[in-house]
Symmetry: C2
Subunit: 188 residues, 2 copies
DNA sequence: TTGCAAACTTACTAATTAGTAAGTAAGTTT
DNA sequence: AAACTTACTTACTAATTAGTAAGTTTGCAA
């Protein structure tokens, strides 16, 4: 009885686990048990844990590229809101973002994973930098630093925001969003 | 041959490992092997890994209390710089802060550890909030939000800043510090 | 209908994991 | 000097880990 979407279910669950507990805190057994298949079925789709970890990151890269395309026609403020929204959903689901999850376990992960992750981080940073640069030029956002710097400030706010929400509660995160918008001059 | 400081060496190494790779990415074997003692010696000082993890967090709480006392007589700006400095050292040593390390692995950790960690997070946030509130009242810092919110913004900048520095390089972190100061109006 | 490939299961293995029980050597106290 | 404590080591164990080899079932194509 071949379930055609087992591969995708494994991939989704692996990402969930990485962003709930970290890469080294879950086992193939936990995945197979949760999905009601055998350990070897997971190895059939992803021969090693490193391959599984890499595919999780690669699919996140694809998802971010899709996000870019899908939001490209929106206004700058709507694009920023859509970006922030993805983190709000993370916060509500008690999930940290991949950037945080991978960077914290950095020296306990296969180098391949951290290298591919650098690509995703750059992708996000470049996108945010561009958004802020245009927004500043158009007088939509106000800040007195390089857009690269402001981009890092907002990304770190969001990445650690979902982390600290686990320790201090979700109100902390929504409060943080308000702060980001105030500093950007987009508070209504 | 009793080495009197074995306990402290274990504690220090455990904290290093948690902040390098995460709690679930190191073993008692790694600690004992690194320190040149036997696995059972680590269990002698810290019967379970949970106890070891708890002691790491408790010693970090004590360290932060000491930091508060030691810097209490400094100017607000010097206190802020001292606080930021601890993160700069982390960044140079490729270590993330405990708040980030614990919150990312949150659902893979013993509940005792996450509960004690909530105390440290509150301690840091209260301290920063107070510093910013006074600094704003005295006209030293400028920001248009509650000091609680600004405190969370700076803490998340620093916490995720050291994380993202692993993926993007240390210049990213020093750039971030400049941004924080610009937004606080303490750039010289 | 036979052949074949995809998607598994069964049944393992070797290594690593946290943890323990029992012993020992070197001080420290009485 | 005897009794005791501290700080270990030796020698394990049971569970969990990632990973594998050899089948089996199912659907599809020739």
């Amino acid at each position: 009885m071949a379930r055609l979407d087992t591969r995708q279910q494994i991939l989704d669950l692996a990402e969930d686990l990485i962003r709930s507990k970290g890469y080294n805190s879950f086992s193939y057994h936990e995945i197979s048990h949760t999905l009601g298949v055998k350990n070897a079925a997971v190895h059939y789709h992803f021969p090693t844990k490193e391959v599984l970890g890499l595919e999780v990151i690669r699919s996140a890269i694809q998802r971010f590229k899709d996000f870019k395309e899908e939001t490209a026609s929106l206004s700058l403020e709507e694009q920023l809101d859509a970006f922030i929204q993805t983190y709000s959903i993370n916060s509500e689901n008690d999930k940290v973002c991949l950037v945080g999850a991978i960077s914290v376990e950095f020296y306990g992960l296969p180098e391949n994973m951290t290298n591919v992750m650098k690509g995703l981080t750059r992708l996000i940073h470049d996108w945010a930098t561009n958004l802020l640069a245009i927004g500043k030029a158009e007088g939509m956002f106000t800040f007195d630093m390089k857009p690269e710097t402001k981009a890092i400030m907002i990304i770190t706010n969001l990445a650690a925001g979902v982390q600290i929400a686990r320790l201090m509660g979700n109100e902390t995160f929504s409060d943080l969003i308000k702060g980001i918008k105030i500093d950007l001059g987009v508070n209504q």
